[in-house]
Every structure is written in structure tokens, then in C-alpha cells.
Symmetry: C3
Subunit: 183 residues, 3 copies
């Protein structure tokens, strides 16, 4: 029994230690998901297909053309299909819903606030994201700040990459979601 | 003393175990609050009573009528009274402040980013929320991503239900906040 | 060995206890940062210097003058320099990017959603914030809901103070970021 106690002491000590880790440690995700979402911006002529629309713009800009100066000041609202692969026409497993805000005058950066609403045989629940997106950088990390359903109370990091884009109308993002708190 | 140690070993083992729980466990909240908030949307004629206003809209829409296509693209800013019961005229215990974004073209869904600013004899502090709100669903879960004051560092899930609505002007939400991280 | 075990029992018991603390305890941050950021609002005449712009406004307002009624309904998008001291002309260590929303009709309050994008010799990574900002109060607490890079998975509280302001064009915020979850 004493041996067991010593072992438990040791194990609990390890667990307790890992709860206060040092800097720059390499953590292993408790869950990982890779998904794609597809954004088609309304440009005045594609109302049937568009999945997002510019709804705010700085003085002098309008709502069918992204603003000059790297779109600074545009807010777009979106409801984009999520797919398991990079094909826009694959069966969607959910919707990416929220907004992005172009927030720089001298390069392309956006601020993102959105949710993945997943409803497939594999996943049922929502994942909530916010963060800064310097869109010209190859991969960008944002925060997964919470979740519901299968993702109850989860936290983690989402790494975003622009997988494809066409003019100012279509872009596709690859999102690699690594959860580090899974409950 | 050894017995105490064994007991402590066992207890700490239990605590350590519960920090890495399996999927779909039923968690018990460490704190719970049920509150109501009341939103009166400005429609061009109710300036004195309105607690929210449409401030962004897609091309062709205006700021006194919610947009067609399920209000897609409207952003509303609000400062709504919070009450303990479902009566708009009860003494407010705080304000719900932030925005909602209608983000779907073929049904009613919104994306929420807001805070509860509570200032009553019972509660002093703020609670911060984000998440997807499919408004036609009976109850919807969003994330409680942080808090301050009495809700310092709290996290949890808020379950939202539409308790009442009148035309496109008034709606009342019941919010059942369950905290699972309380500090 | 038994003594060690008893000691470990005791230590782990302490750690386990501190994971379920009572109310109103005084926590010690695991990391702290004090930074300043500088916001110059576009007013129609300062395009070269402005770091933020009003992009949404209620009915009857425009995008170069903050709205009447305590700016209720204005959304501003910003990309502000961050400095280590209170001098606008100090070398920036990063950018504060996101939005603020004026959300009250009878006093000045804002709702904030933004990120610090830090890129200096000392810090490389992002910090994500949301929360309510009653701007006339001397210090206001908002939530640090996540981070990336050096701030991987961090959470905490940011205390904001208005350090200076000039008319409706320039304001400077002092942000005292206390992290309580550091990873």
C-alpha cells in the first residue's frame, strides 16, 4: 500500500507539475480538426451565390467594391459553407458565421470574430474564434476561445492558411484547429 | 499520518483525474445565474424608448428597417436593461452591451459579441460572451469567454432562449449562465 | 522516502486546493505587461495620420463626425501603434488592431474586440481581448481571452486607463495586462 501511495504521490506530482509548465514547451493537442471554408463576397452581380456581404465602409467607399487602401474599414458579414476538403462543391459539414474587419491602411490584415456551427455525423456543436489575421502571411494563428456541444468549454489555437483566392470575390481558408483544453 | 497521506493521495488522485475528463461527461456548474434582457430596436419613430440601433446594412438596405433576406448583413448595437425576471419594467440589475450581426440569407441566425455589466447588491462585475445564435431554435448555447470583478476569470456556457418578441421592435431573451470555471 | 511522500502529499494537496479557490481571493499574475496604444480618429481632414476610422453609424449620422448622443451606434476600426511608454513617437513594438463600438445613449461606453500584434525583441505573438469599456471610469477591466506565440493559450485581465485625449481626434490608452493562465 505504501508503494502504491508513493506511486500516486509521484503521478500526482507529475500532473500537478504539468499544470504549471514553463515557457515555450511543446504541447500535444487533445483533439485536432482540419476544415475548409469558402467565402464568396457580394459584388453587386452575384447575389445568388454570394455568401458574404460588405456592410460597413469608411467615408467615400461603397458596399459593392472593397475599399481602397487595402480595404481598410470594410466590415464583411459571412455565412460560409464548411467542407472536409478543398472543394467548394463537397457536401458541407457546417457553416462558418460571423464577420471580418479589414483594419490596416498599408497592408492586408483583418480582425476575425466568428463561429463554426458544425452539424454532421461526426461533429455536432459550435467552435468560437477571435483573432488577428495578417492575410498575406502564409499561416496565421488565432484563438479558439470556447465551444459548445461536442466542443463544450474547449480552448485552443486555429492556424489559418489561404488555400486559394480569385480576384476580390472568392477565397478559401484552410483551418487547422488544435484543442489544448478538451474537457 | 500514513493513513492521512493515503487519503490525501487518493483525494488528489481524484482531483487530478477530474482535470482530464473523458468526453460527454456531465459537469456540474460552480455557479449559475438566470437573467433576462430586453431589446427595443430603433425603427425611426421610437427614439426615446429604443435601446438598440441598426448601424450597418448591406447595399440597398437602410438603417430604420431590418434588411430583407432574414436581415442578412444588419449589425445592431445595443445597450439593453437586464432584469431578474421577465418584466421589462422591473428594476434593472445591469446592462447588456455589445452587438449582434444577422449573418444568414435563408434563415434567422445572428452572431453575438456582448457583455453583461452587472451592478447590483448581489453582483458587481462583467461577463463577456461570444457565439452563434440560430434565433429560431428554442435554446442556443454560446460561450462565456471571461469575466471581471465577481466573475474574475470565469468561463462557462450561456443558454439563450427567446422569451418573447413583438414584431421587429421588441424582443426579450432569457439567459441561463452556467459557469464551469469559477476561480 | 515516507517523509518525501508526505511532503509531496502536502504539496499536491496545496496545488489541488488552489485549483478550486474561494471567492475574492487575491491571485498573483504569472506574467504582466504594461503597454500604451494611440488612436487617431479620421475626421475628414487627417487622412495621412489617422489610425482609425468610423465605418458604421446610426441613421442620420455620418462617418467623419462622431455621432451625437454619446456617439451611440458608431463602430470604429483601428490599427494603432503600441509603445512601451506614453510617447506617440516612441518606436512601436506592435499594433493594436480591431474595433470599438459606442453602445450607450446617455453616457460614454464602448464595447471592445481587438488584438495586440506584438513583434519586438522582447515579445512575439498576439493577445486577444474583448470586453465592456465604460470610458469615463478611471480604470476598466476587460478579458484577455487567448493568445498565440509567446502568449500561447494565455488568459487574464487587462486594466485600461485613458492616459490622455485631445478633442474627439486623439486618445491614448494605458493597458496593464495581467495573465493568470500562462502555459
Amino acid at each position: 500500500m505504501r508503494a502504491t501511495c508513493i506511486l500516486l504521490c509521484f503521478l500526482t506530482f507529475l500532473v500537478a507539475s504539468s499544470a504549471h509548465p514553463g515557457k515555450k514547451k511543446q504541447y500535444k493537442p487533445c483533439k485536432e480538426l482540419v476544415l475548409y471554408f469558402h467565402d464568396i463576397i457580394y459584388n453587386g452581380q452575384n447575389a445568388a451565390n454570394a455568401t458574404s456581404a460588405i456592410v460597413a465602409a469608411p467615408e467615400g467607399a461603397n458596399l459593392t467594391i472593397l475599399a481602397s487602401q487595402f480595404h481598410f474599414g470594410n466590415i464583411a458579414v459571412f455565412d460560409d459553407p464548411i467542407t472536409l476538403d478543398n472543394n467548394l462543391h463537397s457536401p458541407p459539414v457546417g457553416r462558418a458565421q460571423g464577420m471580418y474587419i479589414y483594419d490596416t491602411k498599408n497592408t492586408f490584415t483583418a480582425w476575425l470574430g466568428f463561429s463554426f456551427v458544425l452539424n454532421s455525423t461526426d461533429h455536432h456543436g459550435t467552435i468560437n474564434f477571435i483573432g488577428a489575421d495578417p492575410t498575406l502571411v502564409k499561416t496565421r494563428d488565432i484563438s479558439v476561445v470556447g465551444g459548445t456541444g461536442d466542443f463544450f468549454m474547449h480552448r485552443g489555437i486555429a492556424t489559418i492558411a489561404t488555400d486559394a483566392f480569385e480576384d476580390d470575390v472568392y477565397f478559401r481558408l484552410r483551418v487547422d484547429i488544435k484543442f489544448y483544453e478538451c474537457w
